[in-house]
Amino acid sequence: MALVTIKRNSPQHIAIRVLGVLLVAIAVLWVPTKMTTGNIDSMTNALALVIAASALNLVIGYTGLISIGHSAFFGIGSYATGVLVSKYGWGHGWSMIFGALLAFIFGFIVALPALRIKGIYLALVTLAVAVLFPTMMKWPKLEWLTNGARGISGIRYEELPSLPFLGELKGRDDRTVFFYWYAIMLVIITVLVCRGIVKSRMGRALIAIRDNEIGAEVMGVNLATTKTLVFGVSAALTSLAGSLSVARTGVVTADGANLTLIGSIVFLVVMVVGGAATITGPIIGALVYVWVDNYTRTASASGDGLIGWLFDWSAVSPASIILSVALIVLMFVAPDGVFGLVRRLARRVAVIK
């Protein structure tokens, strides 16, 4: 029983929403103005995960199609940027758009088996995509394009755009802040696209497919179109994260963590940790995941503080152990993800009807 009941679209409800938006805006502005460059860079890394996990959420969380092949879509964005910038002199922005189009087509094709199979069998198909992608990028016959196993380096955003309100951008501090805003812009696009889909007729179709595929078809949902489209859109959004990652580091190799199966697993973990089938979940999930990961690595490397004291006996850094245990505990405490937990707790205080 909640302490307070608030009527939907009442002044109190609107005030809470405005407050929420204000708090998010303050947090977004606080990062580049108050944080250290390292932390801003870390936040940009988290934002790339927000994009990938939000895109995956469309497919798994809302549609119920299991995909562990999203690392390949991340890779398409990475390689599109790497190849087009280094070999054909394209700008990073255009290469990102091209990568998204390419990923859309590829995602559309990958979704075709989803018309026939589902569950663990679909997961296996997408697993094959994840495993095949790095091998394809290293295929000797594609070496003229992808540079094979050597990968492509020296392709970072060299000349940052000179926008009137930003002034001349130079040095790592400016560069890091630029990439933060670049990532924020991509996150906004991703969230708006995801929200737009979820709140639309198509979103209702996705949820219907997830909850009862036969029922959805009976109700007139075109399964083929809906599944392939959502897969395509999800792939395109994931590729944005890949392009962002390459623009930030300037290096793309087929064995980069996010381009392999490990990447797919990380996107999945981020989505589940935050809360599947919610727009806010992947955002919270990425921030929590990156913060815990960074904190444990940094504290373990320095050997200071509680972690240093607790794990003094360990010859190697306990960062991975702590992260794994934290995730297991989190899944027990918050099976619906961090956002689910927050929502559950908030409902004890107030409900909106």
Binding site: D41, G91, I155, T176, G256, L261, A315, V316
Partner: protein
């Protein structure tokens, strides 16, 4: 109304994206164009190599005197996989040498502080680790591990004009003084190591030899493969089979070894990666057992020559050939050599006698870095970031743990790698020591 607002914001965001895309004046020239725009190297009037600081993000900081404390940073995989097991002792070796240098006042008037970041051998995490260390006031980096991680921060460190010395990668990418003057390598270049093996094979098989090539399918493995193909004819080598393995592969390379055995290669040059090293060694032993009469000489990359890795392989590692420019710390016969005794005594006093063999790589890396810092401090300009990189590019240092005759030398843009002399050694699994095969090979010094 709400959906209309959302659409409007979407259009605005997409427009902003497009604007950023169109405003991007990247010429797409990759590393060549990029770096030459960032920094230029110049020859000083005296003829010595000198670095230009005019294009640095903060030119004054690059030549500002460093006094009191020099903060040195490194990034090592300390967690996240098997690489952590191999590199944790390396980091301990670095820490030990920094303490040793401070206690012995090796840089008069300057105290060294070592800050270590952990990137889990993931290049996406290296920039954050480096940025964190720069935020903490690190003035020079040394011994960052891995090709991809170093590549991911090379642009930033060169733009900031922060020395990135003693890069722990033998990739030829790091011998690029023209485009990346602030970056210098430490490991013996992979091409040099391959030539050393080719030369040794020519001595073992004067009539010519058939070789099977086995390498990980990355830039690391290809550096060896390309060099071997380039010099094969010169040394009477015929490459009869080439097999690769993906870096993420953990299963034994049975099919690859079967193919190598079927080729009847008289020797194998092998470049597996990390935990693949012992798996490869065990599979070679299995293949030999299954193919009576096939007993190739196996030369394996010296990145696999860690006692930790060889220990996992056990007897299967017996008789392997590899190379080193450092003495075999694990050999009791070498323990009386004064410099090695100093090292062993120091590590034992710290309670780290159990990691002396693996920590030696970290000790040596930091020792060379400290020699560079000391040389920079003694220079006319005193200790600055610019003088550090100039010292790194004009080094002549005899390493404490180096084999007799090894001198770490660099000379501006003409000789950029420090370690280019290697001795081929053969592993004895029972004694856990290496026996020298021939003398130090210095033919490939730049």
């Amino acid at each position: 109304m709400t959906s209309r607002r959302i659409r409007l914001v979407s259009v605005f965001a997409a427009g902003a994206l497009l604007f950023a895309a169109c405003s991007d004046s990247d010429d797409g020239g990759g590393s060549d164009t990029t770096a030459s725009e960032t920094t230029e190297t110049t020859e000083a009037p005296s003829g010595a190599w000198a670095v230009s600081t005019e294009d640095c993000a903060d030119p004054d900081a690059a030549v500002a005197p460093i006094s009191g404390t020099l903060k040195v940073g490194t990034v090592v995989p300390l967690s996240g996989g098997t690489a952590a097991l191999a590199f944790a002792p390396v980091a301990e070796g670095m820490k030990a040498y920094v303490d040793y240098a401070n206690e012995n006042n090796l840089i008069p008037g300057v105290t060294l502080e070592l800050e270590i970041g952990d990137d889990q051998y993931n290049k996406d995490l290296t920039p954050t680790a480096v940025n964190d260390l720069l935020d903490g006031g690190v003035q020079a980096f040394t011994g960052i591990v891995g090709t991809d991680g170093n590549l991911a921060v090379r642009d930033t460190l060169n733009e900031e004009c922060v020395p990135q010395i003693q890069v722990l990668s033998g990739s030829p990418s790091f011998k690029d003084a023209e485009n990346y003057p602030w970056t210098t390598p430490q490991l013996a270049p992979y091409d040099v190591e391959t030539k050393v093996y080719a030369k040794q094979l020519a001595e073992l098989f004067p009539e010519g030899v058939t070789v099977g090539l086995y390498h990980v399918n990355t830039e690391f493995g290809l550096a060896y493969a390309d060099t071997l193909k380039e010099v094969a004819a010169e040394y009477g080598i015929e490459i009869v089979e080439e097999q690769t393995i993906e870096p993420t592969e953990t299963a034994p390379p049975t099919a690859q070894l079967n193919a190598l055995a079927a080729s009847g290669a008289e020797a194998i040059i092998a470049v597996p990666l990390g935990s693949q090293c012992p798996t490869f060694m065990k599979e070679v032993a299995n293949a030999k057992a299954a193919n009576a009469g096939w007993d190739p000489k196996v030369f394996i990359t010296n990145t696999c020559a860690s006692p930790l890795i060889l220990g996992v392989a056990g007897d299967a590692a017996n008789g392997l050939y590899t190379s080193n420019f450092l003495e075999d710390i694990g050999d009791p016969a070498k323990a009386t050599i004064p410099n090695i005794k100093t090292y062993l005594d120091y590590m034992t006093a710290r309670g780290q006698a159990d990691i002396v063999t693996t920590a030696a790589a970290g000790w040596s890396t930091m020792e060379a870095a400290v020699a560079i810092f000391a040389q920079a401090a003694a220079s006319e300009a005193g200790l600055t970031r610019a003088s550090i990189i100039e010292a790194a590019r004009s080094l002549e240092h005899v390493p404490m743990l180096g084999r007799e005759g090894v001198v770490l030398k660099t000379n501006g843009a003409s000789d950029q790698a420090t370690a280019e002399s290697l001795t081929v050694v053969q592993y004895n699994a029972a004694a856990k020591t290496f026996a020298d095969i021939g003398s130090l090979i210095s033919d490939f010094e730049s």
